[in-house]
Symmetry: none
DNA sequence: AGAATTCTTAAGAATTTCTTAAGGTTTTCA
DNA sequence: TGAAAACCTTAAGAAATTCTTAAGAATTCT
Protein backbone atom coordinates (compact mmCIF):
# COMPACT_ATOMS: atom_id res chain seq x y z
CA UNK A 1 0.00 0.00 0.00
CA UNK A 2 1.41 3.32 -1.00
CA UNK A 3 0.89 6.27 1.25
CA UNK A 4 0.96 9.83 0.02
CA UNK A 5 3.69 10.82 2.45
CA UNK A 6 7.37 11.44 2.20
CA UNK A 7 9.78 11.52 5.09
CA UNK A 8 13.15 13.23 5.25
CA UNK A 9 15.74 11.21 7.15
CA UNK A 10 18.65 13.31 8.38
CA UNK A 11 21.58 11.39 9.82
CA UNK A 12 25.30 11.39 9.17
CA UNK A 13 25.52 7.61 9.20
CA UNK A 14 24.55 6.09 5.92
CA UNK A 15 23.72 2.67 7.37
CA UNK A 16 21.15 4.19 9.69
CA UNK A 17 19.56 6.21 6.92
CA UNK A 18 19.39 3.14 4.74
CA UNK A 19 17.92 1.00 7.47
CA UNK A 20 15.21 3.52 8.18
CA UNK A 21 14.52 3.89 4.49
CA UNK A 22 13.99 0.18 4.09
CA UNK A 23 11.45 0.04 6.88
CA UNK A 24 9.56 3.12 5.82
CA UNK A 25 9.45 2.04 2.19
CA UNK A 26 7.93 -1.20 3.27
CA UNK A 27 5.18 0.94 4.79
CA UNK A 28 4.69 2.64 1.45
CA UNK A 29 6.26 5.86 2.61
CA UNK A 30 8.59 7.74 0.31
CA UNK A 31 12.00 8.48 1.81
CA UNK A 32 14.39 11.31 1.11
CA UNK A 33 17.82 11.20 2.70
CA UNK A 34 20.10 13.95 3.90
CA UNK A 35 23.39 13.59 5.75
CA UNK A 36 23.39 16.97 7.47
CA UNK A 37 21.29 20.03 8.16
CA UNK A 38 22.54 21.97 5.15
CA UNK A 39 21.60 19.19 2.80
CA UNK A 40 18.29 18.79 4.60
CA UNK A 41 17.29 22.34 3.77
CA UNK A 42 17.99 21.79 0.10
CA UNK A 43 15.92 18.63 0.11
CA UNK A 44 13.06 20.40 1.85
CA UNK A 45 12.93 22.87 -1.01
CA UNK A 46 13.19 20.23 -3.69
CA UNK A 47 10.66 17.75 -2.33
CA UNK A 48 7.31 17.91 -0.61
CA UNK A 49 8.21 16.55 2.84
CA UNK A 50 5.63 15.62 5.47
CA UNK A 51 7.85 14.59 8.36
CA UNK A 52 11.49 14.77 9.42
CA UNK A 53 13.47 12.16 11.30
CA UNK A 54 16.51 13.88 12.73
CA UNK A 55 19.56 12.56 14.50
CA UNK A 56 20.56 15.11 17.12
CA UNK A 57 24.17 14.03 17.25
CA UNK A 58 25.56 15.34 14.03
CA UNK A 59 28.68 17.39 13.43
CA UNK A 60 26.98 20.45 11.94
CA UNK A 61 24.48 21.81 14.39
CA UNK A 62 23.85 25.03 12.50
CA UNK A 63 22.19 23.07 9.79
CA UNK A 64 19.88 21.49 12.30
CA UNK A 65 18.89 24.86 13.66
CA UNK A 66 18.06 25.93 10.16
CA UNK A 67 15.97 22.85 9.67
CA UNK A 68 13.92 23.80 12.68
CA UNK A 69 13.37 27.24 11.27
CA UNK A 70 11.98 25.74 8.15
CA UNK A 71 9.69 23.51 10.14
CA UNK A 72 8.24 26.50 11.86
CA UNK A 73 7.15 27.83 8.52
CA UNK A 74 6.06 24.54 7.05
CA UNK A 75 4.54 22.91 10.13
CA UNK A 76 6.17 19.54 9.60
CA UNK A 77 6.37 17.12 12.50
CA UNK A 78 9.86 16.20 13.67
CA UNK A 79 10.96 13.00 15.34
CA UNK A 80 14.31 13.14 17.03
CA UNK A 81 16.77 10.29 17.25
CA UNK A 82 19.16 10.40 20.16
CA UNK A 83 21.51 8.05 21.95
CA UNK A 84 20.90 7.50 25.63
CA UNK A 85 24.40 8.66 26.50
CA UNK A 86 24.08 12.04 24.86
CA UNK A 87 24.25 15.35 26.62
CA UNK A 88 20.85 15.72 28.16
CA UNK A 89 20.66 19.47 27.99
CA UNK A 90 21.40 19.67 24.34
CA UNK A 91 18.84 17.03 23.53
CA UNK A 92 16.30 18.65 25.81
CA UNK A 93 16.65 21.99 24.11
CA UNK A 94 15.94 20.42 20.78
CA UNK A 95 13.05 18.46 22.09
CA UNK A 96 11.09 21.54 22.91
CA UNK A 97 10.55 21.97 19.20
CA UNK A 98 10.10 18.30 18.38
CA UNK A 99 7.00 16.16 18.31
CA UNK A 100 8.47 12.90 19.46
CA UNK A 101 11.78 11.25 20.08
CA UNK A 102 13.28 7.78 19.90
CA UNK A 103 16.45 6.70 21.62
CA UNK A 104 19.06 4.64 19.85
CA UNK A 105 19.28 1.75 19.56
CA UNK A 106 15.66 1.70 18.47
CA UNK A 107 13.15 -0.93 17.52
CA UNK A 108 12.29 -0.26 13.86
CA UNK A 109 8.67 -1.17 14.47
CA UNK A 110 8.46 1.40 17.19
CA UNK A 111 9.93 4.07 14.96
CA UNK A 112 7.43 3.22 12.27
CA UNK A 113 4.57 3.35 14.74
CA UNK A 114 5.67 6.80 15.84
CA UNK A 115 6.03 7.99 12.27
CA UNK A 116 2.56 6.78 11.43
CA UNK A 117 1.16 8.29 14.58
CA UNK A 118 2.61 11.68 13.75
CA UNK A 119 1.45 11.56 10.16
CA UNK A 120 -2.03 10.62 11.27
CA UNK A 121 -2.15 13.40 13.79
CA UNK A 122 -0.74 15.87 11.31
CA UNK A 123 -3.38 15.00 8.79
CA UNK A 124 -6.33 15.01 11.15
CA UNK A 125 -5.25 18.25 12.77
CA UNK A 126 -5.02 19.86 9.38
CA UNK A 127 -8.50 18.86 8.37
CA UNK A 128 -9.92 19.12 11.83
CA UNK A 129 -12.14 22.11 11.22
CA UNK A 130 -14.54 20.88 8.59
CA UNK A 131 -14.25 17.14 9.13
CA UNK A 132 -16.30 17.29 12.30
CA UNK A 133 -19.25 19.22 11.02
CA UNK A 134 -22.47 17.41 10.28
CA UNK A 135 -23.22 17.60 6.57
CA UNK A 136 -26.71 17.81 5.15
CA UNK A 137 -27.91 17.73 1.53
CA UNK A 138 -31.61 17.50 0.78
CA UNK A 139 -32.30 15.08 3.58
CA UNK A 140 -29.07 13.14 3.24
CA UNK A 141 -27.09 13.57 6.43
CA UNK A 142 -23.57 12.59 7.39
CA UNK A 143 -22.11 12.77 10.88
CA UNK A 144 -18.31 12.44 10.70
CA UNK A 145 -17.86 11.78 14.40
CA UNK A 146 -20.38 9.01 14.69
CA UNK A 147 -19.73 7.83 11.13
CA UNK A 148 -23.45 7.74 10.60
CA UNK A 149 -25.34 8.47 7.40
CA UNK A 150 -29.06 9.11 7.42
CA UNK A 151 -31.66 9.47 4.70
CA UNK A 152 -34.60 11.53 5.90
CA UNK A 153 -33.78 10.70 9.48
CA UNK A 154 -33.35 7.01 8.94
CA UNK A 155 -29.92 5.58 9.66
CA UNK A 156 -28.21 3.77 6.82
CA UNK A 157 -25.50 1.21 7.50
CA UNK A 158 -22.50 1.80 5.27
CA UNK A 159 -19.26 -0.17 5.19
CA UNK A 160 -16.03 1.78 5.74
CA UNK A 161 -15.25 2.19 2.06
CA UNK A 162 -18.80 3.14 1.23
CA UNK A 163 -18.77 5.65 4.02
CA UNK A 164 -15.54 7.22 2.84
CA UNK A 165 -16.84 7.59 -0.68
CA UNK A 166 -20.00 9.29 0.52
CA UNK A 167 -17.98 11.50 2.82
CA UNK A 168 -15.68 12.54 -0.01
CA UNK A 169 -18.54 13.42 -2.31
CA UNK A 170 -20.59 15.15 0.36
CA UNK A 171 -17.65 17.27 1.40
CA UNK A 172 -17.74 18.77 -2.09
CA UNK A 173 -21.36 18.88 -3.20
CA UNK A 174 -21.81 19.28 -6.91
CA UNK A 175 -18.17 18.62 -7.68
CA UNK A 176 -17.53 15.75 -10.04
CA UNK A 177 -14.92 13.18 -9.08
CA UNK A 178 -13.48 10.82 -11.66
CA UNK A 179 -13.26 7.17 -10.75
CA UNK A 180 -9.51 7.58 -10.42
CA UNK A 181 -10.00 10.57 -8.13
CA UNK A 182 -12.29 8.59 -5.93
CA UNK A 183 -10.02 5.59 -5.84
CA UNK A 184 -6.93 7.59 -5.01
CA UNK A 185 -8.59 9.64 -2.31
CA UNK A 186 -10.42 6.81 -0.64
CA UNK A 187 -7.88 4.03 -1.01
CA UNK A 188 -4.91 6.40 -0.81
CA UNK A 189 -3.03 4.63 -3.53
CA UNK A 190 -2.79 5.00 -7.29
CA UNK A 191 -5.63 3.40 -9.16
CA UNK A 192 -4.78 0.61 -11.51
CA UNK A 193 -7.53 -1.49 -13.03
CA UNK A 194 -9.75 -0.27 -10.25
CA UNK A 195 -12.52 1.27 -12.33
CA UNK A 196 -14.99 -1.44 -11.69
CA UNK A 197 -14.18 -1.69 -8.05
CA UNK A 198 -15.35 1.85 -7.55
CA UNK A 199 -18.37 1.28 -9.75
CA UNK A 200 -19.43 -1.67 -7.64
CA UNK A 201 -19.19 0.38 -4.49
CA UNK A 202 -21.21 3.17 -6.10
CA UNK A 203 -23.88 0.66 -6.84
CA UNK A 204 -23.91 -0.61 -3.29
CA UNK A 205 -24.13 2.89 -1.94
CA UNK A 206 -27.06 3.72 -4.19
CA UNK A 207 -28.79 0.58 -3.05
CA UNK A 208 -28.59 1.91 0.47
CA UNK A 209 -29.12 5.64 0.21
CA UNK A 210 -31.36 6.03 -2.81
CA UNK A 211 -35.08 5.51 -2.73
CA UNK A 212 -34.98 4.47 -6.39
CA UNK A 213 -31.44 3.31 -7.19
CA UNK A 214 -32.13 3.39 -10.91
CA UNK A 215 -33.04 7.06 -10.80
CA UNK A 216 -30.64 8.30 -8.20
CA UNK A 217 -31.48 11.53 -6.49
CA UNK A 218 -28.25 12.02 -4.57
CA UNK A 219 -25.39 10.12 -6.16
CA UNK A 220 -25.41 11.05 -9.83
CA UNK A 221 -23.23 9.94 -12.70
CA UNK A 222 -21.70 12.45 -15.08
CA UNK A 223 -21.17 10.50 -18.23
CA UNK A 224 -17.58 10.03 -19.27
CA UNK A 225 -16.33 12.03 -16.31
CA UNK A 226 -17.30 10.57 -12.98
CA UNK A 227 -19.73 10.84 -10.10
CA UNK A 228 -20.97 13.61 -7.89
CA UNK A 229 -23.27 14.30 -5.01
CA UNK A 230 -26.20 16.47 -6.05
CA UNK A 231 -26.15 19.86 -4.41
CA UNK B 1 -4.92 39.57 14.62
CA UNK B 2 -5.70 39.97 18.28
CA UNK B 3 -7.97 37.55 20.04
CA UNK B 4 -9.89 38.44 23.16
CA UNK B 5 -8.39 35.56 25.12
CA UNK B 6 -5.72 35.21 27.73
CA UNK B 7 -3.99 32.00 28.65
CA UNK B 8 -2.20 31.18 31.87
CA UNK B 9 0.96 29.12 31.36
CA UNK B 10 2.06 27.27 34.49
CA UNK B 11 5.47 25.62 34.30
CA UNK B 12 8.57 25.75 36.46
CA UNK B 13 10.92 26.03 33.49
CA UNK B 14 11.20 29.55 32.21
CA UNK B 15 12.37 28.52 28.72
CA UNK B 16 9.26 26.50 28.17
CA UNK B 17 6.98 29.26 29.40
CA UNK B 18 8.73 31.73 27.13
CA UNK B 19 8.60 29.43 24.14
CA UNK B 20 4.89 28.91 24.60
CA UNK B 21 4.35 32.62 25.11
CA UNK B 22 6.08 33.45 21.85
CA UNK B 23 3.88 31.12 19.89
CA UNK B 24 0.65 32.16 21.54
CA UNK B 25 1.42 35.83 21.18
CA UNK B 26 1.95 35.29 17.51
CA UNK B 27 -1.61 33.98 17.49
CA UNK B 28 -2.78 37.17 19.11
CA UNK B 29 -3.44 35.51 22.44
CA UNK B 30 -2.48 37.24 25.66
CA UNK B 31 -0.19 35.20 27.91
CA UNK B 32 0.19 35.26 31.68
CA UNK B 33 2.98 33.21 33.22
CA UNK B 34 3.20 31.42 36.53
CA UNK B 35 5.97 29.17 37.78
CA UNK B 36 3.94 27.16 40.27
CA UNK B 37 0.44 26.54 41.52
CA UNK B 38 0.58 29.13 44.27
CA UNK B 39 1.51 31.83 41.84
CA UNK B 40 -1.12 30.54 39.42
CA UNK B 41 -3.87 31.15 41.92
CA UNK B 42 -2.76 34.73 42.40
CA UNK B 43 -2.69 35.32 38.68
CA UNK B 44 -6.13 33.80 38.31
CA UNK B 45 -7.45 36.40 40.71
CA UNK B 46 -5.63 39.26 39.09
CA UNK B 47 -6.37 38.55 35.45
CA UNK B 48 -9.33 37.30 33.45
CA UNK B 49 -8.01 33.91 32.28
CA UNK B 50 -9.75 31.82 29.64
CA UNK B 51 -7.53 28.75 29.56
CA UNK B 52 -4.72 27.16 31.55
CA UNK B 53 -1.71 25.28 30.18
CA UNK B 54 -0.27 23.26 33.02
CA UNK B 55 2.90 21.20 33.33
CA UNK B 56 2.15 18.21 35.55
CA UNK B 57 5.74 17.66 36.59
CA UNK B 58 6.34 20.48 39.00
CA UNK B 59 7.80 20.40 42.47
CA UNK B 60 4.73 21.70 44.29
CA UNK B 61 1.84 19.44 43.61
CA UNK B 62 -0.46 21.03 46.17
CA UNK B 63 -0.50 24.17 44.13
CA UNK B 64 -1.59 22.26 41.11
CA UNK B 65 -4.41 20.62 43.00
CA UNK B 66 -5.53 24.06 44.09
CA UNK B 67 -5.44 25.24 40.52
CA UNK B 68 -7.80 22.47 39.60
CA UNK B 69 -10.17 23.42 42.34
CA UNK B 70 -10.28 26.93 41.02
CA UNK B 71 -10.99 25.68 37.56
CA UNK B 72 -13.96 23.84 38.91
CA UNK B 73 -15.41 27.10 40.09
CA UNK B 74 -14.41 29.16 37.11
CA UNK B 75 -15.04 26.62 34.37
CA UNK B 76 -11.81 27.26 32.54
CA UNK B 77 -10.45 24.61 30.16
CA UNK B 78 -7.11 23.06 31.11
CA UNK B 79 -4.51 21.60 28.80
CA UNK B 80 -1.92 19.43 30.49
CA UNK B 81 1.71 19.08 29.50
CA UNK B 82 3.41 15.83 30.44
CA UNK B 83 6.56 13.98 29.54
CA UNK B 84 6.22 10.48 28.18
CA UNK B 85 8.50 9.06 30.84
CA UNK B 86 6.39 10.28 33.72
CA UNK B 87 4.56 8.07 36.10
CA UNK B 88 1.45 7.23 34.20
CA UNK B 89 -0.88 6.98 37.14
CA UNK B 90 0.09 10.30 38.57
CA UNK B 91 -0.43 11.96 35.23
CA UNK B 92 -3.65 10.10 34.81
CA UNK B 93 -5.13 11.38 38.01
CA UNK B 94 -4.56 14.89 36.85
CA UNK B 95 -5.79 14.26 33.39
CA UNK B 96 -9.13 13.19 34.64
CA UNK B 97 -9.84 16.82 35.28
CA UNK B 98 -8.21 18.10 32.13
CA UNK B 99 -9.72 18.82 28.75
CA UNK B 100 -6.76 17.90 26.66
CA UNK B 101 -3.16 16.97 27.05
CA UNK B 102 0.05 17.27 25.08
CA UNK B 103 3.11 15.18 25.71
CA UNK B 104 6.57 16.67 25.74
CA UNK B 105 8.36 17.08 23.52
CA UNK B 106 5.60 18.84 21.72
CA UNK B 107 5.20 20.59 18.44
CA UNK B 108 4.37 24.18 19.32
CA UNK B 109 1.99 24.41 16.41
CA UNK B 110 0.10 21.43 17.69
CA UNK B 111 -0.20 23.03 21.08
CA UNK B 112 -1.59 26.13 19.43
CA UNK B 113 -4.07 24.07 17.49
CA UNK B 114 -5.30 22.50 20.69
CA UNK B 115 -5.49 25.81 22.47
CA UNK B 116 -7.55 27.26 19.67
CA UNK B 117 -9.75 24.20 19.63
CA UNK B 118 -10.46 24.53 23.34
CA UNK B 119 -11.11 28.23 23.14
CA UNK B 120 -13.46 27.70 20.24
CA UNK B 121 -15.38 25.12 22.16
CA UNK B 122 -15.45 27.27 25.23
CA UNK B 123 -16.89 30.14 23.28
CA UNK B 124 -19.42 28.25 21.21
CA UNK B 125 -20.66 26.25 24.13
CA UNK B 126 -21.17 29.40 26.10
CA UNK B 127 -21.18 27.53 29.33
CA UNK B 128 -18.36 25.13 29.32
CA UNK B 129 -19.17 21.54 30.08
CA UNK B 130 -17.31 20.53 33.18
CA UNK B 131 -15.42 17.32 32.70
CA UNK B 132 -15.94 16.46 36.35
CA UNK B 133 -19.64 16.21 35.91
CA UNK B 134 -21.23 12.84 36.32
CA UNK B 135 -21.96 11.37 32.91
CA UNK B 136 -25.10 9.42 32.23
CA UNK B 137 -26.13 7.50 29.13
CA UNK B 138 -29.26 5.37 29.22
CA UNK B 139 -28.59 4.10 32.70
CA UNK B 140 -24.85 3.85 32.35
CA UNK B 141 -23.28 6.26 34.79
CA UNK B 142 -19.70 7.43 35.25
CA UNK B 143 -18.50 9.58 38.11
CA UNK B 144 -15.10 11.02 37.15
CA UNK B 145 -14.31 12.19 40.66
CA UNK B 146 -15.11 8.95 42.41
CA UNK B 147 -14.02 6.87 39.42
CA UNK B 148 -17.16 4.83 39.74
CA UNK B 149 -19.19 3.30 36.96
CA UNK B 150 -22.74 2.14 37.50
CA UNK B 151 -25.25 0.26 35.40
CA UNK B 152 -28.79 1.06 36.45
CA UNK B 153 -27.61 2.08 39.88
CA UNK B 154 -25.46 -0.97 40.42
CA UNK B 155 -21.75 -0.34 40.83
CA UNK B 156 -19.45 -2.08 38.38
CA UNK B 157 -15.84 -2.74 39.24
CA UNK B 158 -13.56 -1.76 36.38
CA UNK B 159 -9.79 -2.03 36.25
CA UNK B 160 -7.86 1.20 35.56
CA UNK B 161 -7.47 0.56 31.86
CA UNK B 162 -11.07 -0.50 31.51
CA UNK B 163 -12.15 2.62 33.33
CA UNK B 164 -10.09 4.86 31.08
CA UNK B 165 -11.53 3.31 27.96
CA UNK B 166 -15.08 3.75 29.22
CA UNK B 167 -14.32 7.30 30.26
CA UNK B 168 -12.88 8.15 26.87
CA UNK B 169 -15.89 6.79 25.04
CA UNK B 170 -18.43 8.27 27.43
CA UNK B 171 -16.86 11.69 27.17
CA UNK B 172 -17.75 11.64 23.48
CA UNK B 173 -21.01 9.74 23.16
CA UNK B 174 -21.70 8.56 19.65
CA UNK B 175 -18.25 9.37 18.41
CA UNK B 176 -16.37 6.45 16.92
CA UNK B 177 -12.83 5.79 18.06
CA UNK B 178 -10.54 3.52 16.08
CA UNK B 179 -8.58 0.93 17.99
CA UNK B 180 -5.49 3.01 17.39
CA UNK B 181 -7.23 6.11 18.70
CA UNK B 182 -8.18 4.26 21.83
CA UNK B 183 -4.73 2.82 22.34
CA UNK B 184 -2.99 6.12 21.85
CA UNK B 185 -5.32 8.04 24.10
CA UNK B 186 -5.45 5.52 26.91
CA UNK B 187 -1.89 4.21 26.83
CA UNK B 188 -0.43 7.50 25.62
CA UNK B 189 1.92 5.96 23.13
CA UNK B 190 1.72 4.95 19.49
CA UNK B 191 0.17 1.59 18.89
CA UNK B 192 1.79 -1.21 17.04
CA UNK B 193 0.61 -4.76 17.30
CA UNK B 194 -1.86 -3.57 19.88
CA UNK B 195 -5.09 -4.20 18.00
CA UNK B 196 -6.05 -7.25 19.92
CA UNK B 197 -5.03 -5.82 23.24
CA UNK B 198 -7.73 -3.22 22.92
CA UNK B 199 -10.19 -5.78 21.62
CA UNK B 200 -9.69 -7.94 24.67
CA UNK B 201 -10.28 -5.03 26.99
CA UNK B 202 -13.43 -4.15 25.10
CA UNK B 203 -14.62 -7.67 25.63
CA UNK B 204 -13.89 -7.50 29.36
CA UNK B 205 -15.72 -4.21 29.65
CA UNK B 206 -18.74 -5.60 27.88
CA UNK B 207 -18.74 -8.56 30.20
CA UNK B 208 -19.07 -6.12 33.07
CA UNK B 209 -21.33 -3.36 31.83
CA UNK B 210 -23.58 -5.10 29.35
CA UNK B 211 -26.61 -7.12 30.33
CA UNK B 212 -26.14 -9.24 27.21
CA UNK B 213 -22.51 -8.93 26.07
CA UNK B 214 -23.32 -10.54 22.74
CA UNK B 215 -25.85 -7.83 21.92
CA UNK B 216 -24.23 -4.84 23.50
CA UNK B 217 -26.46 -1.93 24.27
CA UNK B 218 -23.81 0.58 25.27
CA UNK B 219 -20.45 -0.29 23.79
CA UNK B 220 -21.03 -0.83 20.09
CA UNK B 221 -18.71 -1.81 17.30
CA UNK B 222 -18.66 0.08 14.03
CA UNK B 223 -17.32 -2.45 11.61
CA UNK B 224 -14.00 -1.67 10.06
CA UNK B 225 -13.79 1.63 11.93
CA UNK B 226 -13.83 1.21 15.67
CA UNK B 227 -15.96 1.36 18.79
CA UNK B 228 -18.30 3.91 20.28
CA UNK B 229 -20.57 4.48 23.22
CA UNK B 230 -24.18 4.63 22.13
CA UNK B 231 -25.73 8.01 22.62
C1' DA C 1 3.57 -15.46 47.80
C1' DG C 2 -0.86 -14.79 46.22
C1' DA C 3 -4.14 -12.03 43.80
C1' DA C 4 -5.38 -8.97 40.38
C1' DT C 5 -4.45 -7.03 36.12
C1' DT C 6 -2.67 -6.86 31.57
C1' DC C 7 -0.97 -8.90 27.42
C1' DT C 8 -0.40 -12.53 23.90
C1' DT C 9 -1.86 -16.06 21.01
C1' DA C 10 -4.92 -18.39 18.23
C1' DA C 11 -9.07 -20.22 16.14
C1' DG C 12 -13.51 -19.51 14.36
C1' DA C 13 -17.35 -16.31 13.09
C1' DA C 14 -19.00 -12.29 10.86
C1' DT C 15 -18.49 -8.85 7.56
C1' DT C 16 -16.47 -6.44 3.93
C1' DT C 17 -14.01 -6.11 -0.33
C1' DC C 18 -12.64 -7.57 -4.79
C1' DT C 19 -13.01 -9.95 -9.13
C1' DT C 20 -15.28 -11.54 -12.94
C1' DA C 21 -18.60 -11.33 -16.27
C1' DA C 22 -22.72 -10.17 -18.68
C1' DG C 23 -26.04 -6.83 -20.13
C1' DG C 24 -27.55 -2.03 -20.73
C1' DT C 25 -26.88 2.90 -22.02
C1' DT C 26 -24.72 6.83 -24.10
C1' DT C 27 -21.48 8.77 -27.27
C1' DT C 28 -18.79 8.89 -31.41
C1' DC C 29 -17.98 9.02 -36.12
C1' DA C 30 -18.30 6.85 -40.59
C1' DT D 1 -28.49 7.49 -39.17
C1' DG D 2 -26.69 3.36 -37.66
C1' DA D 3 -23.07 0.61 -36.02
C1' DA D 4 -19.09 0.43 -33.10
C1' DA D 5 -16.85 1.92 -29.14
C1' DA D 6 -16.78 3.56 -24.69
C1' DC D 7 -18.86 3.70 -20.50
C1' DC D 8 -21.98 2.37 -16.77
C1' DT D 9 -24.89 -0.97 -14.02
C1' DT D 10 -25.76 -5.14 -11.86
C1' DA D 11 -25.11 -9.80 -9.83
C1' DA D 12 -22.87 -13.49 -7.48
C1' DG D 13 -19.30 -15.83 -5.30
C1' DA D 14 -14.37 -16.02 -3.75
C1' DA D 15 -10.89 -13.83 -1.05
C1' DA D 16 -9.45 -10.96 2.48
C1' DT D 17 -10.14 -8.48 6.55
C1' DT D 18 -11.99 -7.55 10.98
C1' DC D 19 -14.16 -8.91 15.22
C1' DT D 20 -15.16 -12.05 19.09
C1' DT D 21 -13.94 -15.16 22.35
C1' DA D 22 -11.18 -18.16 25.28
C1' DA D 23 -7.27 -19.67 27.73
C1' DG D 24 -3.02 -19.09 29.63
C1' DA D 25 1.45 -16.47 30.26
C1' DA D 26 3.60 -12.36 31.96
C1' DT D 27 3.49 -8.55 34.75
C1' DT D 28 2.21 -5.62 38.53
C1' DC D 29 0.19 -4.80 42.96
C1' DT D 30 -0.67 -6.02 47.99
Amino acid sequence: MTKPFSVLVVDDEKEIRDAIEIYLKYEGITVVQACDGIEAIEKLDEHPIHLIILDVMMPRMDGIAATFKIREQKNIPIIILSAKSEDTDKVLGLQVGADDYVTKPFNPLELIARVNSQLRRYVTLGTYEDSNKILNLNGLTLDPEAKIVEVNGEAVKLTPIEYRIVELLMNHPGRVFSIQDIYERVWKEPSYNAENTVAVHIRKIREKIEIDPKNPRYLKVVWGIGYKMEK
